[in-house]
Amino acid sequence: MTQEFLITILATAITAGTPILYAALGELLAERCGILNLGVEGMMLVGAVTGFVFAVRSNDPWVGVLAAMLGGGALALVHAFLTVTLQANQVVSGLALTLFGTGLSGFIGKPYIGIPVENAFKPVTLGFLSDIPVLGPVFFHHDPLVYVTYILVPVLWFFIYYTRPGLHLRAVGENPAAADSLGVSVYRVRYLYVTLGGMLAGVGGAYLSLAYAPTWLENMTAGRGWIAVALVIFAIWNPLRAMLGSYIFGGIDALGFRAQAMGVMIPSFFLKMLPYIFTILVLIMVTRKAMANRVGAPGALGLPYDREER
């Protein structure tokens, strides 16, 4: 009983954490190149709705995911244009994006409220992997989008720390003038990763509407975009830690649900608060430690770059 319970909680932690993980990876990429994008919530919502609409229309969830990437990416591209080319304030632009994305998704999704997706993502097993005791049911009884993150996270981690384009990405985020003086195109790098980041946020949204709770509800992200932004800090801009953080958040989220289902007498709004409170606590702890170790935000995070400025 307790082992089974634990397995369910852990497995749910992963499903609940995955949409946040996608969004956090996206935000991580954007911030690594120096652009703060507070539009994650908006991009996720747009991803969720476009993903849902296209999945319903085409009856293929993968088409939905593709559409969600395009939707999230398009929004991020606007952010890149405003903040990189026009050098607008990144916070303001990001907030505007969230407001815009929220409104737009509500508008597009109106006719789709309450409609089911026939072909939502379903858990698939992976042969012998899924048969391993404990680990199998926890990690390998999920839908394909979860498996994608198992590959994506280590690949991104390796990419950022051990490849040439990863080095350029980090350099642009730390000191764009240094990168520029050696021929790394700051504009190109920033456009690229901000847009990629938006695409990932879009997938995160689509995960909600096509796998986690296969339906469209207005505002269905419920603040997950903001959690993703916070998690990037917890992660100290490292994808592996982002994964861990997402799962911790997902776990507490899942625990709250279970507790409620089992009739534990804790007010439900408190349970809903729990993951957020926990995130804040973790943030405070981690940031203090990171400061002591001289690892922290990319040096140029939030700053526009202009070559002739000094």
Partner: protein
């Protein structure tokens, strides 16, 4: 004809909002020569070279490399054409290792970063030129001289045919400067060309083959080194004869103002910090502090300014114990601090001259009342200071980061000296300044001395210390090796103390 030159710039013009930084400048560089580019602060040296290295785009004019016309759209294109520049403010990623900084953007590295291989290449390359760098060290752990070597190696790694050094010696000790000159002579021996930006006449005479002089954005002359002397260069550079250096009056020492008793403090990194420092400075006295970088000079300044806590010992100002008070309380005790890092901790880069100048004074009645600031009065106050010290600004509200180095320093001094401080801590106050500006700064410091300020002057320039100080103390590994009256402080002796000798030993030998 043109192919005789490695690089030729013709009629280069560059305008910034409100300033004509380069006005139809011509410049030629031959293969294998060291060309000095001489000019006062703000004369447009850095701008001209930033154009040559592809960072800025000229408004007009042409550039030829080996006889072919080029237009650089980015620094990358200049690097590809064999032109590399070491900027006045190093362009490095502090959190990266030396190797990562060097291979950044290089075509050598393919998709994977092979750290081991690159590190070996860098070590071989740097050894070949006698430029010692540890490829695995992180930039933030390095001293300024080491960081400069990294910048040079970075350009050598890209096979630069022309290396531009923007005031490289401004941040070096005399020994380090000599080492650098050795390196660049070696490079010219291999056929590479060097442009050395400087405003130090003796450097021109020491290493340059030819010199081009800029004044107010105009190239006023180009000469062979053999055919000029310092006097003529000074006249070309400033449009007037060499300034007679200000003379120090004999000291009139009053009461003890600043007193450190066994002051001990930590440092940020691997450096030693401060150990057991005791010293006193009286009214009207300048105490010069010599020492090689990394031996506690900066820590000493920060301790007195209240920016670094003491772990042991005491600081007294006018007899009052001020140990570990907040910087604001220290300021209120009458301490002024002129830090080495002007744009980082001295001034606020994005604010205009007015806001920067009132940063310390806004609490004073007249400028401010309660939470309010009287902008009109503030403007008048700033304008007066600016006129007093002769800062050239394009506007009172233009962000100060646009000012040239010399003007920044004057602005900072104007603010710090405006309040007639009791104690002044000045760290490298003339670093990067031209002759006229240095002289102005020295005069301002000597004036404060006659007014009775107690001054701690930290400098890497022994000549400056000998000229201004009444006493000279030498720091080595965080300890004070001794304090000598300036009459007894021969350069040789100080030099040995900087390397760890006790004053007694030196005299015996």
């Amino acid at each position: 004809m043109t192919a005789d030159f490695l690089v030729e710039m013709k009629q280069i013009t560059k305008r910034f909002p409100g300033v004509l930084a380069n006005d139809r400048v011509d410049l030629q560089v031959k293969r294998g020569e060291i060309l000095a580019l001489l000019g006062e602060n703000g004369s447009g040296k850095s701008t001209l070279m930033s154009i040559l290295s592809g960072l800025y785009r000229p408004d007009a004019g042409e550039i030829y490399v080996e006889g072919r016309k080029v237009t650089f759209k980015s620094p990358r294109e200049a690097i590809d054409a064999g032109i590399g520049m070491v900027h006045q403010h190093f362009k490095q990623v502090d959190t990266f290792s030396v190797a990562e900084n060097i291979i950044l953007g290089s075509k050598e590295a393919k998709f994977l970063l092979k750290a081991g291989k690159v590190e070996k290449e860098i070590e071989e390359l740097s050894r070949g030129y006698g430029l010692q760098v540890d490829p695995t060290a992180k930039i933030w752990q390095l001293s300024i001289a080491e960081r400069q070597r990294v910048e040079i190696v970075k350009m050598l790694y890209r096979g630069s045919k022309l290396l531009i050094l923007d005031e490289p010696t401004a941040v070096l000790t005399p020994q380090e400067a000599r080492e650098l000159f050795q390196v660049i002579r070696q490079m010219t021996a291999r056929g590479q060309s060097i442009i050395l930006i400087t405003h130090k006449l003796n450097e021109v005479m020491e290493v340059a083959d030819r010199v081009t002089v800029l004044r107010s954005g105009v190239a006023v002359a180009t000469r062979e080194r053999q055919q000029v002397n310092q006097r003529e260069l000074a006249r070309l550079m400033m449009g007037q004869d060499i300034i007679v250096p200000s003379k120090k009056n004999p000291g009139q020492f009053g009461q003890e103002v600043l007193k450190l008793e066994s002051a001990t403090a930590d440092s940020d990194s691997r450096r030693p910090g401060l150990k057991d420092i005791s010293l006193t400075v009286r009214q009207g006295e300048i105490l010069g502090i010599a020492g090689i970088a990394g031996n506690g000079r900066r820590e000493l300044a920060e301790v007195i300014a209240g920016l670094r806590p003491l772990s042991k010992g005491k600081i007294l100002i006018g007899g009052k114990d001020v140990t570990n008070l907040s910087p604001l309380e220290i300021i209120e005790e009458g301490v002024s601090y002129i830090p080495e890092d002007r744009l980082g901790s001295g001034l606020v880069p994005n604010l205009g001259a007015v806001d920067n100048l009132i940063l310390k004074e806004y609490r004073r009645p007249g400028l401010g009342r309660g939470p309010f600031i009287n902008r009109r009065k503030a403007g008048e106050f700033a304008a007066r200071l600016i006129q007093d010290v002769g800062v050239k600004v394009t506007g009172l509200e233009v962000p100060v980061k646009k000012l040239s180095g010399g003007n920044l320093q004057r602005l900072l001094l104007a603010r710090e000296l405006a309040s007639s401080p009791k104690v002044i801590v000045a760290v490298y106050p003339v670093r990067g300044l031209d002759i006229a500006a240095s002289e102005a700064v020295h005069k301002m410091l000597l004036e404060q001395r006659s007014k009775g300020a107690a001054i701690v002057l930290i400098s890497e320039d022994l000549e400056e210390l000998l000229k201004l100080s009444d006493h000279i103390g030498v720091l080595y590994k965080g300890r004070l090796m001794g304090i000598l009256p300036v009459e007894e402080a021969e350069p040789e002796k100080i030099g040995l103390m900087m390397l760890g000798a006790q004053p007694g030993e030196v005299m015996a030998s």
